[in-house]
């Protein structure tokens, strides 16, 4: 017999849909079906049932093979590595829960490590911009209920946040937006003709690397100042038309992603986009929101911030917190050879970092906490698989608009597997002993 768990939160992307229904076996050990999730979310749940899952830690041998070891031995290896390192990095955190992050922070503080999350290669530049200029924003329900001007700049939700447009931004009939999609005008700014761009009322096919200039031109248009004939490949008449379209709405929103956070100018793109949003508030109500990728990168940043004061790239090596991306950020630390140990959890830097950085991970003492086999686990010395957070264990996560939602456990993990939090607690307790003995 089966039972259906409702109000399940999907632990994949920053959309953090919380209306999933998951059918599990009566004994709670098998996950059978998933309803309401997108293709990616469905797979996140179903693939946890793979018969060939790695269920125990494995240590990389000198001859390249892997040897299974116990969780206790894995705890010992990890604690010893962190105790001995002069400058370890504890990276990732974006695919685990805030409770695990909190234990990780205790470890980082004890080990005097650097700690960082996936914002370092994603929306970290957004955070830099927010630090330089602020951010007028709102929760996703405000978009659903009020927004009538939607701009997607440098992002492709049709692929990366598949249910975003149906749950929040384009299709819903909200309190003041009873006509749904018909209430809204959609603008997409992207050099590519993406599936999202195909839905837009206006697609600005911008010249690559010139987002900063185009955003500046929109502000110039708001000030009714002179414009050159073409900016970023867009004619000035079109720029003024889009500026007018934005002004004429009742409530506008700019959503943005990697297309601007990790292309030329990075944080400056976001800075000027936020400046444009603030500028638009002289005419009508406008907000801006980053399309966060991992389902709990936001949460990792929140916990770092309330415990250490900074949202990512935090350096605790001097016994107190310091922050300066470029100095304290993960890719820079790796490429410059600043580290002597690497601890990865809830992320895959092996796949996402520049290869020059990944080579360093391969050469360092390294631990990778991940249920999957990944490029990171492949180059790490110790691979510790854990239960899937949000599937086999619950825990608090933060959506892209900073709303906290407590993920649910829907199914048991494979026999004897630990969760992130359980493993980290053991590492913390062992590290405390090692540091106390010193």
């Amino acid at each position: 017999m089966t039972k259906t768990v409702t109000d399940v939160i999907c632990p994949f992307c920053g959309t953090l849909c919380d209306d999933l229904e998951v059918v599990v076996s009566d004994d709670g050990k098998q996950l059978l079906e998933v309803y309401n999730a997108c293709v990616i979310g469905t797979e996140k749940f179903l693939h946890s049932q793979s018969k060939d899952r790695v269920t125990r830690p494995r240590l990389h041998q000198p001859d390249g093979t892997w040897k299974e070891i116990s969780y206790d031995d894995a705890v010992e290896y990890t604690a010893q590595m962190l105790a001995k390192a002069k400058k370890p990095l504890m990276y990732g955190w974006s695919s685990t829960n805030c409770e695990a992050q909190s234990v990780g922070n205790e470890i980082a503080e004890m080990a005097r490590a650097c700690c960082d999350n996936t914002a370092a290669v994603c929306h970290g530049t957004t955070l830099i911009a927010v630090q330089d200029i602020g951010i007028p924003s709102c929760t996703l329900g405000e978009i659903k209920n009020r927004a009538d001007r939607i701009i997607f700049w440098g992002c492709n939700p049709a692929h990366a946040h598949p249910r975003h447009m149906s749950r929040y931004s384009i299709f819903p009939r909200g309190f003041f937006t009873g006509k749904g999609q018909m209430s809204r005008k959609m603008v997409v700014v992207d050099p590519r003709v993406t599936d999202t761009a195909k839905m837009a009322d206006v697609h600005l096919q911008i010249e690559q690397g010139r987002d900063y200039e185009l955003l500046n031109a929109l502000r110039v248009a708001l000030n009714n100042e002179w414009l050159p004939d073409v900016v970023a490949g867009i004619p000035k008449e079109k720029i003024r038309e889009v500026a007018d379209m934005m002004k004429s709405g009742r409530f506008g929103i700019i959503f943005f992603g990697m297309g601007v956070t990790q292309s030329l100018s990075k944080n400056h793109n976001i800075d000027e986009a936020i400046a444009l949003t603030k500028h638009l508030n002289e005419f009508t109500k406008f907000s801006i929101m980053p399309m966060r990728g991992h389902y709990n990168v936001t949460g990792s940043g929140e916990v770092f911030a309330w415990q250490f004061g900074f949202p990512y790239s935090v350096d605790l090596t001097r016994g107190f917190a310091r922050y300066n991306p470029g100095d304290t950020s993960s890719v820079d630390l790796l490429i410059r050879g600043e580290l002597d140990a690497m601890f990865t959890i809830g992320s895959d830097p092996g796949a996402h970092f520049p290869i020059s950085a990944v080579k360093h991970i391969a050469n360092l003492p390294s631990v990778c906490i991940d249920p999957h086999l990944t490029p990171t686990s492949g180059v790490s010395k110790l691979h510790v698989p854990v239960a899937f957070n949000g599937v086999e264990t619950g825990g608090n996560c933060y959506r892209m608009d900073n709303v906290p939602i407590d993920c649910r456990k829907v199914v048991e993990p494979p026999e004897g597997m630990l969760t992130d939090e359980q493993f980290l607690i053991k590492v913390r307790d062992r590290l405390k002993q090692l540091k106390g003995a010193a």
């Binding site: 002069k86 400058k87 330089d132 502000r219 708001l222 100018s265 400056h268 400046a275 600043e338 002597d340």
Partner: protein, 266 residues
Amino acid sequence: METVTITMKNPPALYLEADNVSPDAFAGKTAAQIAELHVYEGNTTGTLGKYFDVNGNAGATAAETKIVVKGDVKKVKYLGFKMSAGEVVVEGSTDLYAGAWMTGGKMTVKGNAEAFAATAMKGGELVIEGNAGNYLGAAYRGDWRGMKGGKILVKGNAGSDLGMYMLGGEIVVNGNVDVHVMTHAEGGRTVIKGNVNSKVGGQLVEGTIIIFGTLDVMMPGYKYVDDVELEIDGAKATFAHFIGDTGERHKKKKGQVIYGNLYKKI
């Protein structure tokens, strides 16, 4: 002027943070005392003497102290940190934060300096004979109060994000500059003798930018006004004069809007 020479003898495995290598930290100390000053390698605390040979006593005050740094210090950060007077000469290249938060005195780097040199500088002089990295003379993260005074000269090239949130002082680069010059500035002046890529003067409220070489793409917020003759370092030349950033807010004085000024040599 008393001179203290520190020579790298024991390179670190990782990187060193040498916050204490400044005339202010050395002032009033003997060579032996200076050798006891703390230096940091990751989460370990060592002494200056563990990594450097220290010769010479400091002057009684920072103003009377000169520091010469010899040997390979490419992995040493924070040389000249927060100096207020005196002199620091780095004979080779150095890492991040050269002269960061300095308020006076003179620092010379004979080689290259990496990112964050002269962060939030308030006064004094920094000369980099080689190249400067990114964020030269920029504000610290989140602070709208960047470089307030002093003078920076780079004889080679500079990277990106030069003079971010600048309020005052002057930066001169003899070579080329990457993207983002004086973003968000509210004062100060930057002279680029070579070429600059783009995104110059973005979101600038007030300030002056003078470019001798090429500028790949002008920000749309800059509009041409007229041609003017300027004298820079004793040489006169004619420049196309632009005002901007017209997308940004500006102050008014006696009813007149005060724009930033960008001059590009014709």
